[in-house]
């Protein structure tokens, strides 16, 4: 009896029966499951966004000699760095002040000060850009005071700019951290630099929380074609696309600090990432000389037109013939290729500014952005996208999902199928389960090469998107069609 009892108490290792696995496999593709999935209140599964400090670090890399500095636990810094390493396949030199348990008790001031000293000595930055991860945010470190004290103590050389931003990870996403850090950098660098009557004659351009180096280069190329001098604020294009020539440059690029400082006297300032720069741009409007314009990413013909015309208007210069010709070539590519994408349904997800870009492009091509998902969205974003949908025949039946994640997206694409997805690498599991291609236009891209080198903005960006999308659709046709439909021409 006691033997039986003890035997009963033993729990054996079980194997889930194959038919049970098969059942659940089918079930997670069902409408019923989708409903349960969408009923989630607390659990987030496969979100499509990182946390604030990541965006802060990214933009901190976009200034000359700027050393990104995480005030917080060192593990955070490693995560941000490796995310940027993987996306760009480039170095992302940044430090942290390695706060540990004692920080919870004493605060992080000692770590911060010691770290500043070491970082200055070892890495000789021209600027140290500080942002916070969770720990100091939760315990309430007073960064303003800490940094003031650091200066007084001489932890940083006289005159070394030390912008800092609170970038709590439990609020917003990397996009908001970008905004906060950029704002602080600009406030720090421009402080006292506004000169009555001075005008640099330049355009200040802010790309938004954009991880595509090709886009930055494309903006510069466009401005060069106009012959308009330009300061790209937070210019990561050289930082994250530096030459491999035998020399490692720790600070490979970035906006010159002098130019950034003088940007306050600019002739005009444009942001092309309104959702990523709401704070920064609000401050700029109140403080920068010259004119200001906030515009969506110039993706697709109409938004690129608007961007160029705005520049033309601000600088009293016509759009150069070379860009007009490029426009014509982009339209040519669109008319030539429309039949490969027209009417195709897409599921798109990503950061707000990217998302608007995808929707815009697809509608211009006559494709349907059928499932539109943002894991960190807003009513404003939803309204703006809905307006785009409403203005197009191809926006009919397309639906927006705000603050949903990629596990929701999976339910969408398996129950209400589409032809392809657009987003970042994290969507690849949903795309595989749905048996459709994923076009990696977002951030991060961990599993393809060079894609961040191809601009998606401007007229050239349109050609790139068409090339990637339409040729992939043709690839699929060629690879999957019966022999009798395998043809020379497509």
């Amino acid at each position: 009896m006691s033997a039986t009892e003890s035997a009963a108490a033993v729990k054996y290792v079980t194997e889930t029966p194959p038919e049970e696995i098969a059942r659940v496999k089918e079930w997670i593709n069902s409408e019923e499951y989708k409903e349960k999935n969408f009923a989630r209140q607390a659990l987030v599964i496969n979100p499509a966004h990182g946390c604030q400090p990541l965006g802060a670090e990214m933009v901190a890399h976009g200034f000359e000699g700027s050393l990104p500095f995480t005030h917080g636990s060192q593990g955070c810094a490693s995560y941000y760095r490796s995310t940027l390493n993987r996306h760009f396949r480039e170095p992302a030199p940044a430090v942290s002040d390695s706060m540990t348990e004692d920080g919870a008790v004493f605060g992080g001031q000692n770590n911060l000060h010691e770290a500043l000293e070491n970082a200055v000595a070892l890495y000789k930055p021209k600027m140290i850009s500080i942002f916070t991860s969770c720990m100091p945010e939760v315990i309430g470190d007073d960064l303003t005071a800490f940094i003031k004290n650091a200066k007084q103590k001489g932890c940083v050389p006289e005159g070394l700019p030390v912008p800092y931003a609170n970038t709590p990870s439990f609020n917003g996403s990397h996009v908001h951290g970008y905004d906060a850090m950029l704002l602080s950098i600009l406030q720090t660098l421009t402080e006292g630099k506004q000169i009555e009557g001075r005008c640099t004659g330049k355009l200040n351009l802010i790309a938004g929380c954009d991880f595509n180096t090709g886009n930055y280069r494309e903006y510069k190329r466009i401005l060069e074609a106009f012959g308009i001098p330009c300061t790209v604020l937070g210019d990561i294009s050289e930082t994250f696309d530096s030459p491999c020539d035998g020399t490692y440059r720790m600070y490979a690029g970035g906006t010159k600090l002098e130019d950034a400082a003088d940007s306050i006297n600019g002739k005009a300032t444009i942001t092309l990432g309104p959702y990523a720069t709401s704070k920064t741009f609000g401050w700029i409007k109140d403080n920068y000389s010259g004119k200001h314009a906030s515009m969506p990413m110039p993706v697709g013909i109409e938004k690129t037109d608007a961007f160029l015309m705005k520049i033309a208007e601000l600088f009293g210069k016509p759009v150069p013939a070379s860009l007009k010709a490029e426009r014509g070539r982009a339209v040519d590519a669109m008319t030539d290729a429309h039949q490969y994408i027209h009417g195709k349904k897409f599921a798109v997800y990503g950061d707000p500014d990217y998302l608007i870009a995808y929707v815009t492009f697809l509608l211009e091509m006559g494709a349907k952005p059928y499932h539109i998902l943002c894991s960190k969205g807003s009513k404003k974003l939803e309204k703006e996208i809905q307006a785009l949908l409403d203005a197009s025949l191809y926006g009919k039946d397309c639906k927006i999902y705000m603050n949903k994640d990629l596990w929701h997206m999976r339910s969408l694409v398996v129950t209400d199928p589409v032809d392809a997805m657009i987003g970042d690498t994290h969507g690849k599991f949903a795309a595989r389960d749905a048996g459709i291609p994923l076009f990696r236009f977002g951030f991060p891209i961990f599993d393809r090469v060079n894609l961040h080198r191809y601009p998606l903005v401007g007229y050239q960006g349109i050609i790139n998107m068409i090339t990637f999308i339409c040729n992939k659709f043709i690839d699929i046709k060629d690879e999957t069609c019966e022999d009798r439909f395998f043809e020379m021409m497509r």
Partner: protein, 481 residues
């Protein structure tokens, strides 16, 4: 272990110390003092570790280290495939560690395998009001949406510990009500000095919540073993397991690569624990030894020399049947390995490698490089302890530099001086050195390749090392103009 200390031409204790001193000279006083004990020329016959380790990282120096959460989520828990692992706290930690460690898993994603990101996605209000209630709800949701999950781990991120949430009691209650193991793991990133504490905390929770809660349904055999500290990076477990099975052993559970919760829970019934990554799991081996009397053995499955040594050492723990099979396996694979060596060694002979990795690789892979005719001129760990360095010293050539948690600055300095032909380190280091034109392999993740364990792995390793070193692209780095 090697018999006579290896030497590298041109490297002496003095030259290495000079190199270290030069690097340290750049530090401010305080930093220099902190860093100095972590850097030393190797003394292969030294009786105690030549470097200090497992200390706080010097602030501001650009360390490669992660945190306790990374050690818990990325290393120990993440690879258990049939559990839902909840990154409890803000969205980032789970997002950054989602799919980035290459611990491959069997099964179907979202059905009976959960290589996904589960998070409570803390918002401001959760910080203010606490996240316990949210945790409770999400546990129910996870159980409902993933009915085949054998358990749930709750991995705390920094805020959880700081705001004083009580995940342990939430887990306890929910576990009872949902009738599945729910394991709370207080692995907040601020704890300890590196990933290492995360491993330990995770080991503790396995000890407290899992081990001994199951038994294998099939009868025990004298050949039942467990594979500990293999995380199946690039399929390592599959390669190692098939070799262990080939020599007649039953691999009853794997900790934790492609791991299964219930099998881990039943590990206390095996006859021997074989441990690959000593750093992250030696504690559990000791616990099982003490509590259940299970002996354990360290082994090394990198490169034919070490594999042979290890197979024989493993065989020695069993009867003649196993020992015979070991010899059969060695006899079968050695010619294949020789052919691989014959192919690649001529192109790799005499090439120098420097390592900076985690866990076991800074020492365990040395033999594999040597099998290919290469030599190791520097090695170090992100998060090692004394016992790791003790085990490393005899493997490394005399007077070569050993570095513990080096800053990127130090590592660069050493590289400039030693001019290795190959560096094996992580993603954060990779592109720095590639810009310099130095071949590099990511040795945490096998650079998206693998497996590297076992005989099967050596073929892949040899091919990859040859590719890295001999890619014609390196010759193009220097511009002729």
């Amino acid at each position: 272990m090697s018999e006579t200390p290896k030497k590298i031409e041109g490297i002496t204790k003095e030259s290495t110390q000079a190199m270290i001193d030069t690097a340290l000279a750049a530090y401010p006083e305080k930093g220099r003092k902190k860093r100095a004990p972590h850097l030393a020329p190797n003394d292969p016959e030294g009786s105690s570790s030549c470097v200090k380790s497992n200390r706080k990282t010097v602030p501001g120096v650009m360390s490669a280290r992660g945190c306790a959460y990374a050690g818990a989520k990325g290393v120990v828990w993440g690879p258990i495939r049939d559990m839902v692992h909840v990154s409890h706290g803000p969205v980032g930690c789970g997002w950054y560690s989602w799919g980035t460690r290459r611990n491959l898993m069997s099964g179907t994603n979202g059905v009976d395998q959960f290589g996904m990101q589960f998070t409570s996605d803390f918002q401001e209000k959760d910080i203010v009001y606490g996240g316990d209630k949210k945790l409770r709800t999400l546990l129910e949701e996870a159980h409902e949406l993933f009915p085949l999950a054998k358990g749930i781990s709750v991995l705390s991120e920094c805020p959880v510990g700081l705001i004083g949430d009580d995940i342990n009691s939430v887990a306890k209650v929910a576990s009872k009500e949902l009738d599945i193991p729910i394991i709370p793991c207080n692995c907040e990133g601020f704890r300890g000095v590196s990933q290492s504490l995360g491993h330990h905390i995770s080991n503790d929770t396995i000890r407290d919540h899992i081990i001994g809660t199951r038994e294998f349904a099939e009868p025990a055999s004298p050949y039942d073993i467990s594979l500990i500290g293999d995380y199946n990076i690039g399929g390592d477990v599959w390669s190692a397991k098939s070799l262990l099975e080939e020599i007649g052993l039953n691999v009853k559970s794997v900790w934790t690569g492609d791991g299964e919760l219930e099998k881990i829970a039943a590990t206390h019934t095996v006859k021997l624990n074989l441990i690959h990554c000593y750093r992250s799991m030696n504690y559990m081996c000791k616990v099982m030894e003490e509590k259940y009397g299970i002996p354990w053995l360290e082994f090394n499955f990198f490169g034919p020399t070490k594999i042979k040594e290890s197979l024989r050492a493993i065989g020695a723990r069993f009867d003649q049947t196993i020992q015979d099979k070991v010899e059969v396996a060695i006899a079968k694979y050695e010619p294949i390995m020789q052919a691989i060596i014959d192919e690649y060694k001529p192109r790799l002979e005499g090439k120098k490698v420097m390592l900076l990795v985690g866990g076991l690789r800074p020492r365990h892979t040395i033999g594999a490089y040597e099998d290919l005719g290469m030599e190791c001129v520097g090695s170090g760990y992100e998060f090692a302890h004394n016992d790791d360095y003790e085990r490393t010293m005899p493997e490394m050539p005399e007077a070569t530099v050993i570095y513990d948690d080096p800053s990127e600055f130090e590592f660069e300095q050493f590289v400039h001086k030693l001019k290795p032909d190959l560096i094996g380190s992580g993603i954060k280091e990779k592109y720095v050195f590639q810009k310099m034109g130095i071949p590099f392999r990511q040795m945490h993740s096998w650079d998206y390749s693998g497996p590297y364990h076992g005989y099967q792995g050596f073929e892949v390793f040899a091919r990859d090392i040859d590719m890295a070193l001999n890619s014609p692209t390196w010759k193009l780095v220097k511009s002729p103009f």
